[in-house]
Assembly symmetry: C2
Homo-oligomer: 162 residues x 2
């Protein structure tokens, strides 16, 4: 049974384990590889950010954040980021968190959701976001330096919530 709920300080260790593994792999996020635990958690728990965890049988297997993509006159568009524990398979954690996130964003009154940086080689993520109604609305040529594939394109994905 996968339960998705707001994160608390009790999950900091579990979140950092996932965060660190994803960032160290270096093939999906444009973070500093040597980002510290403190920096990582500060980013994941910013003041303007809601942080969630997906728990399966008492173990945190995924986490996501939801926030305004911009302030002021851009704050009606949400942004979100997702991380799934690398050793988790078959639980559809990404899909379940994605659906939960869209529901939360709608509940909070956002009019749309935007992903600013979807690496084009991350095919599973792109497939998932398309299935959840997102479109590619922009392509940034060579904007990500993939650890094996070199400079690859990055997509901007967008979905109305109205």
């Amino acid at each position: 049974m996968l339960e998705i709920r707001a994160a608390t300080e009790a999950e900091h260790d579990a979140i950092w384990d996932i965060f660190h593994a994803i960032v160290a792999a270096g093939d999906t996020y444009a973070f500093e590889l040597e980002m510290s635990r403190q920096e990582g958690l500060a980013y994941w728990f910013r003041a303007d950010t809601r942080t969630y965890v997906a728990e399966n049988d008492g173990r945190v297997v995924g986490t996501y954040i939801l926030k305004p993509n911009h302030a002021g006159a851009g704050s009606h568009v949400a942004n979100a980021a997702f991380m799934v524990a690398p050793d988790t398979r078959g639980l559809r954690v990404g899909r379940r968190m994605g659906e939960h996130c869209l529901g939360e964003a709608q509940r909070l009154g956002f009019r749309a959701m935007q992903f600013n940086f979807v690496v084009s080689t991350n095919e599973a993520a792109i497939r998932l976001w398309k299935r959840l109604g997102f479109n590619i609305v922009g392509t940034l040529p060579g904007a990500f330096q993939h650890p094996e594939k070199g400079y690859v394109d990055v997509y901007i994905m967008f979905r109305s919530l109205l």
Copy 2:
């Protein structure tokens, strides 16, 4: 004679005057309208940011920032933002700062430059960036709430520096 150079603390007042006027107008940037001087200057002088001023006859008439658009594997793409004093006309401050910025970005080894949030009603800016070699690579539907025009599209603009 327009001189463009790195900003110092001596220009904080002049920069804030411009910043505040641009943000208060509310038709080009997605900042909180009630952003404080401290918050504004903190944003304009972040650790990863280079800050410049354009000075005309001893008066600061424009300012721009240049920084990596993302960290880590996205840090080869630069991002920049520009502000020109509203009462400045005929000095081509925007164009001169844009050219200066592209030169600086090349000198610093960036491979490309990206603007994440060009409001589609800001026609003078779009015309200028196109003239300086930028293309619209993405359109964000209704992503900016214009104070008079309501929800308007936002463009992502991109230019190779290679």
